[in-house]
Amino acid sequence: MTKPLSAPLDVGFDYTRSLGPTLGRFLTDLRRRKVTGIRGSDGRVHVPPLEYDPVTAERLTEFVDVASTGVVRGWSWIPEPLEGQPLDRPFAWALIQLDGADTSLLHAVDAGSPDRMSTGARVRVRWRADRVGAITDIECFELSDEPADEPVPADEVTMVTTPVHLHYTHSASPTEDPFLRGLMEGRLIAQRCPACSKVYFPPRPACPTDGVPTTEQIELSDRGTVTTFCVVNVPFLGQRIPPPYVSAYVLLDGADIPFLHLLLGVAPEDVRMGMRVEAVWKPREEWGPTMQNIDHFRPSGEPDAPFDSYSQHL
């Protein structure tokens, strides 16, 4: 079997976080080159501060200043840092108990070599120069017996932005693969369920109704009927087609399930359920393994299909 088609899929968003009183105080203080913990019901000082007590579940409010120096309680060496990690050179992830705290904080230690790391080693905060109110205001920890830099004034922090980026390789299924390779040749390949005889376009690995593999391939024409549609007037982040546009369910002749595609060549107010349409293909040299080879559908000029001919596909 040939390797299925695959393509990169990058998903990213700059999420925001409203911090509330506890985390807001913690990050504001980091911006001021100061580390703050909170006292729990059992007397322990938690760093970072917890919003709610892990024993009683009550909201915690007694903030406690702790030192910017502490001791390594455990560590792991990272010889090859990954994207988004605190340092771009080998470093140690370490659990660090700051002086005055009863819990350990996870952060990076810029130790240079694993030979220099040890449980029990003394460390201090290396403060970032341009602090914004984030855990990365602590650039990292460094091995030292000396005190860290003194606190300075800074404005309050109530929000942070946390960009999240995921890089996927999106692979077509073995069923999708011949369908996509058909598209590269301008062919529309569907499959028929051996049990219910329904024709699926695009094909599925199995019939959703009968649960059996669909193996019989059928080639469909590029004409069909608009079952229903909407006119998208709303712009939104990540949109690929400028609004307004008509997003229509097209039921290809011979298929038993409609799919969404773009409808052009007609004013949105003139689009009708039952309208007969045909595919408008992109120039052949632009074809790839994608439904986007069909640039859009347009009215074919045939009379509308009767409602009964597609009403069971709504």
């Binding site: 088609l5 695959s6 998903v11 968003f13 999420y15 925001t16 409203s18 911090l19 509330g20 009183p21 985390l23 919003e51 709610y52 892990p54 579940a57 909201r59 109530t158 929000m159 946390t162 999240v164 999106h170 077509a172 996509l180 369920c193 329904k198 024709v199 699926y200 959703p208 109704t209 079952t227 229903t228 549609f229 909407c230 006119v231 998208v232 007037n233 709303v234 939104f236 982040l237 990540g238 949109q239 690929r240 087609i241 997003s247 229509a248 369910y249 038993d256 399930i257 969404l260 595609h261 773009l262 359920m273 994608t290 439904m291 986007q292 069909i294 409602f307 069971q312 596909h313 709504l314």
Partner: protein, 380 residues
């Protein structure tokens, strides 16, 4: 199955952006109100069930992990429920089953969404390779099916605008609602921008930050109780050949099972108030039919006759519904909690007089997950 009851409800003041609180703080606002309403404290809670819509909506994988302290779940069972937009309803049903089965005596159900931290429209429209990028969020998904309903039922255009105006006016009676528009009219809804034709701006739910919590107990606590008379969950695939997207089989099956379990033979006569998941106005008549309150094709007539107003034959969404507040993950549990509040007599200005039996309903995904319960003031 032993009886179980909702003995306390709580919700946040829903808003477009609750920038004053963290996710944990948002949940606790609802939880603290529910526990105070029930007159219970943390040692009285045996287990916690959390519901939240897809993680991409806030970009936090498994928020139940970092929320365990805030949810009071340390040392107790904590479950997370996932059923897209219906998740709040499913969360209520799961919590109810833990009590009805005798596994736990008192369970806290919590659901939340902090929509301001992301962009749901983006999260629902990420273009995957090899496909046509015509997806346009939930509105773009549901608008063609709304059009199909209008055509099939022969419904007049103004029915959708009537639902929107009613739900927003009801929202103005609810101190927790995100949108309060006492002066909205059918004409002003009609004049609002067409977003996903045939769905207008004013016929669309807002994007909200909010949370909801309920305490479910085997025995009543200090105050009133809403006895859970029936629950139902049903699922179907997003697409299959011949699927009825207007009147999905899973919804019909869930409703049939629900009424049977509740001993209700004529829902329209026997139910006093309904909180139905209506994120786009036309889903009121669509779900009235799907739930069996009317025959197929007749739901819009109940709406048009004004029978779904407070004071009508079947008040639908006296709280203002999803059209007035939509913290997605919490929206289903809000329907369930508001139904409970009606039979507990604690709904305040949007109380339906004499409500003794009420429906809470939620749907999610591409109309493929259905969750519902019937609550009553009498112990079964």
């Amino acid at each position: 199955m032993r009886p179980a009851a909702v003995v306390g409800t709580g919700q946040t003041h829903h808003a477009a952006k609750r920038l004053d609180v963290s996710m944990a703080g948002l949940c606790r606002e609802a939880i603290d109100r529910a526990m105070a309403d029930a007159g219970v404290d943390w040692p009285d809670i045996d287990a916690v069930v959390l519901g939240k819509a897809p993680d991409q909506f806030e970009g936090v994988m498994m928020p139940e992990l970092f929320l365990a302290d805030a949810l009071g779940a340390v040392g107790k069972p904590l479950l997370r429920v996932h059923t897209a937009g219906s998740v709040g309803g499913s969360t209520g049903n799961v919590a109810a089953s833990l009590v009805q089965s005798g596994v736990h005596n008192r369970v806290l159900a919590v659901a939340f969404e902090k929509q301001s931290e992301s962009n749901a429209m983006w999260a629902l429209s990420v273009p995957t390779p090899f496909t046509m990028p015509v997806h346009a969020g939930a509105g773009g998904y549901f608008a063609p099916h709304v059009r199909a309903y209008i055509r099939r039922a022969g419904a007049p255009e103004h029915v959708g605008t009537m639902v929107a105006a009613k739900d927003r006016r009801n929202g103005a009676l609810n101190p927790y609602a995100h949108l309060k528009q006492p002066d909205i009219t059918v004409e002003s809804v009609r004049a609002s921008t067409m977003l996903w034709d045939p769905i207008r701006y004013d016929e669309t739910c807002p994007s909200s930050d909010g949370a909801c919590a309920v305490v479910i107990s085997a025995e009543p606590t200090s105050g009133p109780a809403a006895w859970i008379r029936a629950t139902a969950l049903r699922t179907e695939p997003t697409t299959f050949a011949g699927r009825d997207q207007v009147n999905p089989q899973a919804g019909r099956d869930a409703a049939r099972a629900l009424w049977k379990q509740a001993g209700i033979t004529d829902p329209l006569s026997e139910v006093d108030a309904a909180e139905i998941y209506v994120p786009f106005s036309w889903f009121e008549p669509m779900w009235l039919e799907n739930l069996g309150f009317t025959d197929v094709g007749q739901g819009w007539k109940l709406t048009e006759a004004g029978e779904t107003e407070i004071g009508g034959r079947l008040p639908v969404n006296p709280s203002g519904g999803v059209l007035s507040s939509n913290p997605i993950g919490a929206s289903g549990l809000l329907r369930f909690a508001e139904a409970a509040m009606q039979v507990m007599g604690t709904a305040g200005d949007h109380q339906v007089d004499g409500a003794r039996v009420a429906l809470g309903h939620a749907y999610g995904g591409g109309s493929q997950f259905f969750a519902m319960w019937v609550v009553g003031s009498e112990k079964p």
